[in-house]
Each structure stands twice: as structure tokens, then as C-alpha cells.
């Protein structure tokens, strides 16, 4: 596998790989998001207790899952960046961070909007909400740490270390609803065949999760392309690329 991956340590090959992957991710995003939103927001049946307010689940849950998914990918990139010292991995960390921060913010905001009518409060300092808020701060911390250094090599290393340390927050977020008494409910999608969520709501939700994952992938690839170009702007291949187009 190393042999297969090794060429992508070179910036121009990685750039080409991004270009190859981008259309697939983009198409999956557009198709799944349109179908998923129309299905979820317009055609899925209303909940027996929450009526139509529950429909925020089709945005809230995918964004919450992706906020953690994006963080784990960022942490994996950070480990690769620290141990194998691949500059592309460092760029990947910094490409994912703002995307993850946005997704986390979406999860927090949609959660608050749902919490007001359902719980009766915008925000409660329970374990789930607080740990998700810390996740947002971790993303912002990685970003600002990276931009605080003049020397981009040191910046990449510092940001990577923070990203790796923050991984500890992920199991805390996930298990917070089981370990402690929280206002936030437990997971609806747990065991694949005995979901606490009806199939007529589960499938549009799944589709929306796929759409969100592809969306995060698309934006990350676009950002990674930019980061590579910016970092390599004095290299001949970038100049060639710029002159051509």
C-alpha cells in the first residue's frame, strides 16, 4: 500500500488526485442532497410527538456525525504529518479544519433551534452539548494555531499536535449520553436492524448523511487544492499550470 500511496507525497500528484476525485464527490453531493432534502423535508411522515419540528434531524444529525468524522480524518492526517512528515498531510489538516468548524457550528445552531420548542431552552450545559462546543473550539484552535506561526513548518507541527490531542474529545462526545444524565437524547441510529427511528425516516436520514459526507469531501478537496497551489506557488509545475489556464 505504501508503494501505491507514495507518489501522492509529491504535491503535483496529490493535486492531480484531487482533480480526479472532485467530480465524483461533487456529483454524489448534488444528487444525494437534493433527493435527501426533498424526501426528508417534504415526503417523510411527521413524528408522532414532535410533528414537523423533528425534520431538523435531516440537517442536525448529518452535521453532528460529520463534525466528528471530519475531526477523525483531520487527526489521521495530523498523525501522518507528524510521523512521516509529509507536507501534503499537513496541508490536509489545515484544509479540513475550517470545514469541520462550519459543520460543527451547523450542528450546534440547528440543535439550539430544535431545543427551544422541544426542550424549552436554547442551550443547556449538559455533557453532550458542552463537549460538542469544545469540539468547535478545538477546530478553531487548530486553525488559529496554524495561522499564528510565521514559519509554516512549525505551524503545521503545532496544529497537528493539537489536532491529535483533541481526539480524546470524540469518545467523550459519543458516549456522553450514556455515561451521564443528559438532556440530549441517546443515539437513534444504533443497531442496524433495531433502530429507534422508523424506516420511513431512517432512509432519508441515511441519504442525507451520505450527502453531507460527500459535501464535506468536496469542500475539503477544493480547499486542499488551494492550499497545495499556495504552498507550491514558486514551483515550475504550478507556474506551468497558471500560464496554461
Amino acid at each position: 500500500m505504501w508503494k501505491w500511496l507514495h507518489p501522492y507525497a509529491k504535491a503535483d500528484r496529490a493535486y492531480q488526485l484531487c482533480n480526479t476525485l472532485l467530480p465524483y464527490f461533487a456529483v454524489i453531493t448534488v444528487v444525494c442532497m437534493i433527493v435527501g432534502w426533498v424526501w426528508g423535508l417534504a415526503y417523510a411522515p411527521a413524528d408522532y410527538q414532535q410533528k414537523d419540528s423533528y425534520r431538523i434531524i435531516f440537517i442536525h444529525v448529518p452535521s453532528a456525525i460529520l463534525s466528528m468524522g471530519a475531526y477523525s480524518s483531520m487527526a489521521i492526517a495530523a498523525i501522518v504529518a507528524l510521523v512521516w512528515q509529509l507536507r501534503n498531510a499537513e496541508l490536509a489538516v489545515i484544509a479540513i479544519a475550517p470545514v469541520g468548524a462550519c459543520v460543527t457550528a451547523i450542528a450546534l445552531i440547528t440543535g439550539a433551534a430544535w431545543g427551544k420548542p422541544m426542550w424549552g431552552a436554547w442551550w443547556v450545559w449538559d455533557a453532550r452539548l458542552t463537549s460538542e462546543l469544545i469540539l468547535l473550539f478545538l477546530y478553531l484552535g487548530v486553525l488559529s494555531l496554524y495561522h499564528a506561526f510565521e514559519d509554516k513548518k512549525a505551524a503545521g507541527r503545532a496544529a497537528s499536535i493539537l489536532a491529535i490531542v483533541g481526539v480524546i474529545n470524540l469518545p467523550i462526545i459519543h458516549f456522553s449520553v450514556e455515561w451521564w444524565n443528559t438532556l440530549h437524547q441517546g443515539a437513534s441510529i444504533t443497531k442496524f436492524n433495531t433502530n429507534a427511528i422508523d424506516p420511513s425516516m431512517f432512509w432519508p436520514l441515511m441519504l442525507n448523511i451520505v450527502a453531507f459526507a460527500a459535501f464535506v469531501g468536496t469542500v475539503t478537496l477544493m480547499r486542499l487544492k488551494n492550499e497545495i497551489l499556495q504552498r507550491e506557488k514558486h514551483r515550475p509545475w504550478v507556474r506551468q499550470l497558471l500560464n496554461r489556464g
Binding site: A46, D47, Y48, S53, W119, A127, N181, L183, G186, S200
Partner: protein, 159 residues
């Protein structure tokens, strides 16, 4: 793997495990405080290994299920009182204000307020706790026997 990479990998693992252990110990020490609320049995029988009881006048949160048939509303004001249960004893909650949409008998709620008697809480905030079950009304009717009633006012949309 060459020795330098191995060393870096070890260093990274050590950092993660070190910080993990620190956070783990902190959370363990704070275990009791991270819980958002007392349960009715904890309130009556004491909480934690020392069976500590909250004192009268303490500000606390309590979470439990609203006992069906225990909700008493005042005719002329917003005052309402109901009983909460988890597995054993009952706790009475008195509250004045608007209850959240999801408040109903048999529903989990979290109330914040002052303990005025060992088993009575004067709440100033009542939050509904939603469970993880999502289903259409027809399924709920079939599975749980919950009768779904159409709201009397016209919302313009079809429920």
C-alpha cells in the same frame, strides 16, 4: 519503519495516551458533577457512595418521568404541580409558567428549582427531555397504542 519515524510515532502515541489519562482522571473525579440532574430516587435516598442528601433550599435539577394522572393545573393561574418518578419514590414539582411543547404525562422532563421540602421542588424552569424514538403517528398508534389527536385549530397543513 525507520528509527526516526518510530520515535516520532512513539512520541505521538505517548502524548495521546498521557493527555487521555489526564482527561480520564479529571472526568472520573468530576463524575458526579457532570450529571445534569438528580433522579427522584437519588433525591430521596441520597446520591453517590456516601448517600449524600441535598439540603433544603439547595438549587438543583431533577430529571424523571411525569407520573400519569398527577398533573394538577390551577384554574385561575399558570400554576401547575406534578409528580416525577424514576424507579422508586415520587417527587412533587410545583411550577408557575408555560410548559414546553413536549411536556405530557409519561414524558421525561428535567426541572430546575429549589428544594423546599425533602420531596418537593419549587421549579423555575421545566425542560422536556425527548427520547430517541422517531416514528410516524400511525406507527406510534400501532406500536404504543398512543392515540394521535388532530389539533382543533386549523394549521393549514395536513398532520
Amino acid at each position: 519503519m525507520n528509527p526516526r519515524r518510530k520515535k516520532r510515532l512513539l512520541a505521538v502515541t505517548a502524548i495521546v495516551f498521557g493527555v487521555g489519562a489526564v482527561i480520564g482522571l479529571v472526568l472520573y473525579a468530576l463524575q458526579e458533577n457532570i450529571n445534569l440532574f438528580y433522579t427522584p430516587s437519588e433525591l430521596i435516598e441520597g446520591k453517590g457512595p456516601n448517600k449524600e442528601l441535598p439540603y433544603i433550599g439547595q438549587k438543583l435539577r431533577i430529571g424523571g418521568m411525569v407520573v400519569p394522572g398527577s398533573v394538577v393545573r390551577d384554574e385561575t393561574s399558570l400554576e401547575v404541580s406534578f409528580k416525577l418518578i424514576d424507579t422508586g419514590p415520587l417527587v412533587t414539582i410545583r411550577y408557575q409558567g408555560i410548559l414546553p411543547d413536549l411536556f405530557r404525562e409519561g414524558q421525561g422532563i428535567v426541572a430546575q428549582g429549589l428544594l423546599v421540602e425533602p420531596n418537593v421542588i419549587e421549579a423555575f424552569e421545566v425542560l422536556a427531555k425527548h427520547d430517541e424514538e422517531y416514528m410516524p403517528a400511525e406507527v406510534a398508534e400501532a406500536v404504543k397504542g398512543i392515540k394521535h389527536e388532530k389539533p382543533k385549530y386549523n394549521l393549514g397543513s395536513d398532520y
